[in-house]
């Protein structure tokens, strides 16, 4: 194949200009070199995108690739394949591996392995605290020098307020942002699911919204006084949206929601069992409505997966023993289309903005996140119309722990182009 690709007759999604434009797009040597109507280039490989949406490559702030230590659940190779199949060109992998990513050497490994695999840019998030223990800060500066793009103790929240206060100020020097999992575990000892009618009925230990929201409030106060760049991930409650709205008038805080928190409630734990055991837990219909309103208003300006693969043997246990997490990287986009576009919450342009431009800005990836001449040719092409059923057994991910088996969905990615190279075509990976 030549190093030029001409994408013909597609509908370009331009989130920066809030426009859909019918035009051609020419890629050469890994860059977008021309956008316009009636482009001809006989040398280029021609890709007919008629009826398809062509937009900047999708960027995902929250995935778990489990390497090193839990390769039984996922590894960087299978995770990368799942990402490319899901239309993602950049993902941020969380540091709660075994051992956790608290050491610059691990970051270097992930960056170099990502380049070797060549299917998606895997950017490591580094641990805030050594061993995710919440006791001492990691070497933020040395981590950043090896490619860490954000800090997170995902899976937990930092309990010691003073430690986080100092970490917020310290990280400013290195311009490193935080991706925060918000949960006060004191309020949810051995918690299993959302604290509400269903947890009472089922006899499962509750995880109250108070635990999530008290930490959101604390951390936003700390951000307010320190100037830290803070992103709250996998938001799940109505009050969380209100808190962020209040702070956004004062500081540039961002937030994301996962598709499962928009599509499922705590009641569905009855139906899906451990496949719907996730943290933060599935909440209530009123929370979904508030999250959707937050998304429409832009309070929630990013969408992410929290792709959390597990082996089925890990999930096929009693509810209390099962690990938290849903594998969803390959269906994140169609799930979001169902919950947001088809419900009329937001349009395709806004959806794409929250999946590319806004996360790119958060990570300060200035050459990604929009379709412009001169930018890196990370591009996702989506078929907005054809309906397919979710077939979990076809997942590239090792994680088949997914409650959405058999759901009919639209908005599937049909091409993923990474740095000017087609890495996924109609669901199949090209290497």
């Amino acid at each position: 194949m030549t190093d030029s690709i001409l994408i013909k007759k597609g509908t370009l999604v331009l989130p920066g200009r809030k426009e859909l434009v019918d035009a051609d797009l020419l890629i050469r040597e890994g860059k977008i070199v021309r956008i316009g109507r009636g482009i001809e280039d006989p040398q280029a490989y021609s890709l007919n995108a008629s009826g398809l949406l062509v937009g900047p490559g999708l960027i995902n702030l929250h995935v778990h690739f489990r390497e090193p230590g839990e390769e039984k659940k996922e590894d960087l190779f299978t995770g990368a394949r799942a990402a490319a199949r899901g239309g993602f060109t950049t993902v941020v992998c969380m540091p709660n591996t075994c051992p956790p990513l608290d050491n610059p050497l691990f970051a270097r490994y992930i960056v170099s392995r990502s380049a070797e695999i060549g299917l998606v840019n895997i950017l490591p998030a580094g641990a805030i605290t050594v061993g995710l223990k919440g006791e001492t800060m990691t070497n933020f500066g040395l981590l950043k020098e090896e490619g860490v793009v954000a800090l997170s103790d995902d899976g937990k929240s930092v309990g010691k307020s003073r430690l986080l206060y100092l970490a917020f100020r310290y990280a400013n020097y290195f311009d490193l942002p935080f991706i925060l999992h918000e949960e006060d575990e004191n309020l949810s000892p051995a918690g299993e699911m959302h604290e509400g009618v269903t947890s009472f009925e089922m006899g499962y230990r509750g995880i109250p919204p108070a635990g999530e929201n008290s930490r959101i409030a604390r951390d936003l106060v700390l951000a307010l006084y320190t100037g830290a760049r803070v992103h709250l991930t996998h938001l799940s409650t109505d009050l969380g949206v209100d808190l962020i709205r209040w702070f956004q008038a004062r500081i540039p805080v961002s937030a994301d929601v996962t598709p499962h928190h928009l599509l499922l409630t705590d009641q569905q734990v009855k139906q899906f069992g451990t496949l719907a055991k996730v943290n933060p837990p599935l909440r209530e219909e009123k929370d979904i409505q508030a999250l959707k309103l937050g998304i429409r208003e832009g309070v929630i300006n990013i969408l992410a997966s929290d792709h959390a693969p597990h082996s089925l043997e890990d999930k096929e246990v009693d509810f209390a023993s099962a690990p938290f997490g849903i594998s969803n990287l390959e269906i994140t986009l169609p799930l979001l289309v169902k919950s947001l576009v088809e419900e009329g919450v937001i349009d395709w342009i806004s959806l794409w903005e929250k999946l590319s431009l806004n996360p790119a800005r958060f990570l300060k990836l200035t050459d990604r996140g929009s379709l412009e001449e001169g930018k890196v040719a990370d591009i996702t092409i989506v078929d907005p119309d054809t309906e397919w059923e979710v077939e979990v057994n076809q997942f590239e991910s090792k994680g088949k722990n997914c409650p959405f088996q058999g759901w009919p969905l639209r908005g599937w990615p049909v091409y993923t182009i990474l740095g000017g190279k087609v890495v996924m075509q109609e669901g199949s990976l090209i290497s």
């Binding site: 001492t136 800060m137 070497n139 933020f140 500066g141 040395l142 100020r169 310290y170």
Partner: protein, 310 residues
């Protein structure tokens, strides 16, 4: 205009003229230290008590030597001896000492404001040898003397103070002093140790470190204490050294006419590369000798002229 202070509690109460008065006298003593014999007898028969609640052999010895060079008698209460006095409150301890009828009390204490507090009721001259995180006036004066003797002036200089500004009485006193003399101060280091409030004292915070030391006349490094890491202000000595110390490559890029200063004792390889300590740009050893001269000047001035006023 003569000298009108009874004590030396800090740089803050001193005027620019006061500082010049002490520096001129100290400059004379600094020159006389090269002569033999050095000892001058003008304070024969006066007594000085060193009362150190925090261990600091260097400062204590410097005061002791300064006093002896002037012919004074010296009594030391070191940390170990001070601990004998445990159980007494500070005021009772010092009241007991006051009955010893000394002339000068040199005090170091870990609580800010102790020298001021004692000066309210003790019958002798008090010299602050470092109180908590507030002031260390003889350190600032010796730094000013060192800078003056090197550059021939104390105005229109640019001084970058690097490191633990938050906990440093040295940084506070020096910043106040430099500003009174008409020079500019920049702060840099780990942002957890460089509070934004420092700018309220005058001076400007500049990040990153490389930028803060660009084109300055003096790079003043503060000692970084291990306990700051344990308290969570930075992550590790390795990272501190990598990002917040004066490494040789940074020095090569920044130096120009700059000199390196440090209040000591130096943590080699932590806040500064070891070979820079004795390098041509370093005045760290000269600071020690200037310290002696400054303390002689302070003792001489307080005893001979510090009768009235505050």
């Amino acid at each position: 205009m003569g000298w009108k202070h009874r004590h030396l509690l800090g740089i803050q109460p001193l005027s620019r003229e006061d500082i010049w008065y002490l520096l001129h006298k100290a400059n004379f003593f600094r020159d006389s230290l090269e002569e033999k014999p050095k000892k001058e007898g003008q304070l024969n028969g006066f007594f000085m008590i060193n009362l150190f609640f925090e261990p600091s052999t260097r400062t204590r010895i410097s005061f002791e030597m300064a006093a002896k060079l002037l012919g004074m008698e010296v009594i030391n209460f070191t940390t170990e001896m001070s601990s004998i006095l445990k159980g007494e409150n500070l005021r009772d301890t010092v009241r007991t000492l006051s009955r010893l009828k000394a002339d000068v009390l040199v005090i170091r204490h870990s609580s800010s404001g102790v020298p001021q507090y004692l000066s309210q009721f003790l019958p002798f001259h008090i010299i602050n040898a470092g109180d908590g995180m507030r002031e260390h006036p003889t350190q600032a004066l010796l730094d000013l003397l060192t800078i003056w003797r090197h550059f021939g002036r104390l105005s229109n200089l640019k001084v970058a103070i690097i490191g633990d500004i938050l906990h440093s009485r040295v940084a506070r006193s020096l910043t106040i002093g430099l500003q009174k003399m008409g020079s500019e101060v920049f702060f840099s280091g780990a942002p957890t140790l460089v509070p934004p409030e420092a700018e309220k004292m005058g001076g400007q915070i500049i990040y990153p470190l490389e930028k803060a030391i660009q084109g300055v006349d003096v790079i003043y490094l503060l000692r970084i204490q291990q306990e700051r890491q344990k308290a969570g202000f930075f992550s590790s000595i390795k990272e501190y050294n990598h990002f917040f110390s004066l490494r040789k490559d940074l020095w090569e890029k920044a130096k120009g006419q700059a000199i390196i200063m440090h209040p000591g004792p130096v943590n080699r390889g932590v806040e500064v590369d070891s070979e820079l300590v004795e390098g041509t740009g370093s005045l760290i050893e000269e600071q020690v000798t200037c310290g002696l001269a400054v303390r002689m000047a302070v003792l001489d001035t307080l005893i001979q002229e510090g009768k009235a006023g505050d």
